[in-house]
């Protein structure tokens, strides 16, 4: 039976990213700093979040590209650790996140007498992304629909509603929680559990699995 559309309906979107090379590259930490200072915010976004939707081998040790480069190319483990611990969700916006990256790099540059450089083919390549968002025609009308439909959602949908949402929503929250919250506080514990998922040191598959487990457990406990 077709449900009537209401204001509380949650339209599931899907998205896909395409990476765009900027042509900018850096061989030294100072060069990385200089470019990171002026590149577009979408470039910062890509190097912190883009890995979730692009080809990569899981590297949970270094969840952002700056840290990964510092470790694998610059071989500066201390810097890599400091960059890796930056949690992009702690920052109001991408400008604040950029400032933190620059701060960590500046601190390291102050400590180094002779900042090292990398081989020509180990440079840091600055990339940004474009996002295409489209409607899946899937609509959720009640919280249980989330459980029933999460398997039908692509990783693009998970990215859009769980990761990208933080950039769009004024409260920096994910779309699932915002929607569940709109049911007059009836599902606050579910909202809290979903909010507690750490989207950073993980993969989209794992995020999808975690959401599913949380919703399943919530309804099991309710029965």
């Amino acid at each position: 039976m077709k449900r009537e559309t209401t204001n509380n309906d949650f339209s599931i979107k899907d998205c896909t990213l395409v990476a765009v090379a900027t042509g900018l590259k850096a061989r030294t930490l100072r060069e990385v700093r200089s470019i990171a200072d002026t590149i577009s915010p979408s470039c910062i976004y890509y190097h912190f979040w883009g890995a979730l939707l692009r080809s990569r081998f899981d590297d949970p040790e270094f969840p952002n590209d700056f840290a990964s480069w510092a470790s694998h190319s610059l071989h500066d483990k201390k810097l890599a650790e400091r960059l890796a611990i930056i949690n992009p969700m702690d920052f109001r916006d991408l400008e604040d996140l950029r400032k933190e990256v620059l701060e960590v790099i500046d601190e390291r540059l102050d400590e180094l007498d002779m900042p090292s450089w990398v081989d020509e083919d180990r440079q840091f390549y600055f990339v940004h992304s474009q996002i295409v968002v489209f409607d899946t025609k899937l609509k959720l009308t009640e919280p249980q629909d989330l459980l029933r439909n999460i398997d039908l959602m692509s990783l693009g949908s998970i990215f859009y509603h769980f990761i990208d949402a933080r950039r769009r929503n004024p409260d920096k929250g994910n779309d699932f929680s915002r929607w569940l919250h709109s049911f007059d506080g009836q599902h606050d514990s579910l909202v809290r559990s979903i909010n507690n998922i750490d989207p950073y040191f993980t993969t989209l598959h794992d995020i999808e699995r975690e959401i599913k487990d949380i919703v399943q457990k919530y309804y099991r406990n309710e029965q």
Partner: protein, 413 residues
């Protein structure tokens, strides 16, 4: 027979296919044309052979045109290829004039198709000048570079850049390959088709045939490099690695590759490889016709370890193919091999014949590790390097260019 979407669904899952169908809906009615210089042999033709039917099955109006050329033309474009990979080459004005003339002839033949296309993908340097002749184009044109052009020989790049700059966008396999151009430079790694004859599961009779045909001994390990006979693939380095490793372990080496119509240098390299073989009966040099996909598939599957010891590599689709067949890969620390081979996970990156020999010995001694790596390798490819991901990115960048490459594009239902 062309595989159906349903067959891909069984490999990549419902959500991936659904995702493609929804994306493709926004591109119905557009005329999309791919142009390259060879219909068989080499990675580009292989990608197009599987990409085209898949696009069609999503309801897209897509066609593939192949340009033609003579020996002189291909000699020139082979030099372009080598130059983009960093080799200093000598190309005189007569060769360049001939290159442009052949392109003008090809353009006249393809004029109607190209003028009326909404989206045109021109693959690699061979047909790059076509856009210059197309004064009345209505569509958006992409130049797709499959080559590692991170350190091009500048005089040649300077010449080619004048053609490429005219395009609405370019597509590169890795960010490091992209040259500065005044248009969006998309990054799209290539992919393999799990249902193509080169990658599809085979039964044991196919594998037995391989042992029999090339007199391979089932009881001794086989290491294999599948590639064109090209200096950048370092076949001589592979033979050296094999010789070093064989001192410690019984071993057979297979060097197999097909020739391609646009690769006149191959015969010369093959001769050098035969010399280096030095009549060793355990070195099997196999030259295959361009359509011997099933045989290559079987050779990869009977191998214990796959090598791709390239000195320069565009992306290294043979690596992807091997990983998909649950084989650990020992690969040159270069280009696209770096985003596929992860030390201790999917194989090893090496920088010398000695390094390759060391890893061969290690993996043959630790068969459990070899097997684990193989399992991990297959899942890695399933997630990242199958044709469905490649297709998704192509569809996305068509949408992107049609929306003037805005950072965020919201499609209406």
């Amino acid at each position: 027979m062309t595989p159906s979407l349903e067959q891909y669904r069984s490999i990549v899952g419902d959500a991936v296919i659904q995702h493609l169908m929804q994306l493709a809906r926004h591109l119905r009615g557009l005329k999309i044309v791919h142009v390259n210089s060879t219909s068989e042999g080499g990675g580009v033709a292989e990608i197009l052979q599987c990409l085209l039917p898949l696009k069609k099955s999503l309801g897209l109006d897509v066609s593939w045109e192949v340009t033609s050329g003579d020996r002189e033309f291909y000699e020139c474009t082979k030099k372009f290829h080598n130059a983009l990979q960093g080799n200093k080459v000598a190309i005189n004005n007569a060769m360049l004039s001939h290159y442009e003339k052949i392109n003008s002839i090809n353009y006249e033949r393809l004029k109607d198709t190209l003028e009326n296309a909404d989206i045109v993908f021109i693959h690699d340097p061979q047909p790059a000048p076509l856009l210059r002749f197309c004064a009345d184009r209505k569509g958006r044109w992409f130049w797709r570079c499959h080559i590692d052009a991170s350190h091009p020989y500048r005089p040649v790049w300077k010449y080619l850049r004048d053609f490429v700059t005219l395009y609405d966008a370019s597509i590169w396999s890795l960010p490091s390959f992209a040259q500065n151009l005044p248009h969006p430079m998309y990054v799209v790694p290539p992919s393999i088709d799990p249902l193509s004859p080169k990658n599809i599961d085979l039964d044991s009779s196919d594998l037995k045939d391989v042992y029999k045909t090339w007199h391979l001994d089932e009881s001794r390990p086989i290491i294999t490099q599948i590639s064109r006979f090209d200096r950048f693939k370092d076949p001589l380095g592979v033979i050296e690695s094999y010789k070093l490793a064989k001192k410690f372990s019984p071993l057979q080496l297979v060097l197999a590759g097909s020739g391609a119509n646009d690769d006149p240098e191959g015969a010369e390299v093959l001769e050098e490889v035969e010399l280096a073989r030095d009549n060793d009966p355990d070195i099997h040099i196999i030259v295959l016709p361009p359509d011997a996909h099933r045989k290559i598939n079987a050779l990869q599957r009977v191998s214990n370890i796959i090598l791709q010891k390239s000195l320069r590599e565009g992306f290294g689709l043979t690596v992807t193919e091997a990983l998909w067949k649950q084989k650990a890969v020992i690969g040159g620390d270069t280009g696209g091999i770096r985003i596929q081979v992860f030390n201790h996970h999917t194989g090893f990156l090496v920088n010398s014949p000695e390094g390759a020999a060391l890893r061969i010995r290690y993996l043959l001694k630790h068969r459990d590790i070899l097997e684990n790596m193989g399992n991990k390798a297959k899942e890695f490819v399933r997630e990242n390097f199958l044709i469905t991901r490649h297709l998704r990115e192509y569809l996305t960048l068509i949408i992107s260019i049609m929306h003037n490459s805005k950072e965020r594009i919201i499609l209406q239902a």
